[in-house]
Symmetry: C2
Amino acid sequence: MSRASDRAYSQIRRMILRADLVPGEQIREEQLAEVCGVSRTPVRDALRRLEAESLISRNESQRSFVAEWSLEDIAEAFQLRALLEGRAAKRAATRITAEQMRALKDCNCRIEAAIACDTPDIGAFLENNRIFHATIMEAAASVRLTNILTSIVEQPVVLRTALQYDRQNLLRSHNEHQALVAAFERCDGDWAESTMAAHIHRAFHAYADIHQRELTDAPCAAMA
Amino acid sequence: MSRASDRAYSQIRRMILRADLVPGEQIREEQLAEVCGVSRTPVRDALRRLEAESLISRNESQRSFVAEWSLEDIAEAFQLRALLEGRAAKRAATRITAEQMRALKDCNCRIEAAIACDTPDIGAFLENNRIFHATIMEAAASVRLTNILTSIVEQPVVLRTALQYDRQNLLRSHNEHQALVAAFERCDGDWAESTMAAHIHRAFHAYADIHQRELTDAPCAAMA
DNA sequence: TCGTATCTTATTGTATACAATTATGGTTCG
DNA sequence: CGAACCATAATTGTATACAATAAGATACGA
């Protein structure tokens, strides 16, 4: 991660994920080069990678923009994720090692701890949730599936959503993780697949609910 | 397609697909720049894109190689394709326009003609087959699904396989296409999905059979 | 002979200058 | 007043030189 293009990549990526660069905004190579303290060459390199991840898009004349996501786009991404991560869980069920199994359980313990108290530690929840899913991906042992899923999962709008999860959603998520572990322990691929798919679909509706509330609240906020 | 990086991209791509560059072979930016008649800058750009398509891979020290595919990798790619292109067919079933429907039927007619005579026109078969699947993708109207599928489908080893299809496989393929059209006509997404998945799975086994024969024949050829 | 340290060469990474293209604003003409 | 058109500015694309790094070769010592 010491190469200039790597630094540019992760810095630009972080700016998009943190919404410092807002969706629809045009991206100028030179400006980013200044911000990152490198020349345009590594920035161009980074932009190609971010384009492959759909974090930026280009118009017909090669100008770059922070990707905009409609609710439909997001629904589509969640559906794809449910399909593919379900498949990953199925593969994982018959390939997971004892070590990976332990890692999953540890993750869930840490998640349980993070959401136990009155003010849940969302940061810890998110990080352990990430590790949980990454471990399953690793157990699925499919480079291609991993690559595709990575490009689908890490979308700014989705990542920010979890910050607004209420306790009920956090608990449900935890329970679904427990069910996944149970499916793995019984090497039941079909159970794992459907549990994972359901897990992702529920996450989508949690997102949609929050989003809906945002849409509804927005006018009120504007009036206040 | 007039930009130097676009020309480099399609030229290198073609070289890989035609096996002028053999799997596992190291790729040198400067050499490709010479071949394509451009500087290293657009070549580097093209390589990033090809990397995103898994046509080239990089080792830990950033050297590029033509991607190598094990039989397991290929099986995995076909499985993913069956899953995703099945989903695309399902979406297409409820979204396809009259125009697209007509295009599909025309394609199938041309395919029928191409495989009717004693010496099938494999080139025409491949081209119309490509259009057929592309049309369904278009009807599915999902940018993300299209992108992912494109990166999975166009693998050199898979494309070359069809060149060795026997008449029976060509006919089966054609019949499956007809079934897909029928499913679309009835707007039956589930039927379309399972038919497409079966279509892809059959294609895999046709590939595997040919590959198996190659493996078996190879030693004999070496002895002759 | 083997391993290892060091030098040399090959290859990729970055910066910069300039070329090509696209957007923008203003001007003229109908 | 609007539309077509040009001039200019903004932005991206390409070539090239050089820097950094990794691979390969050679020499030396154990």
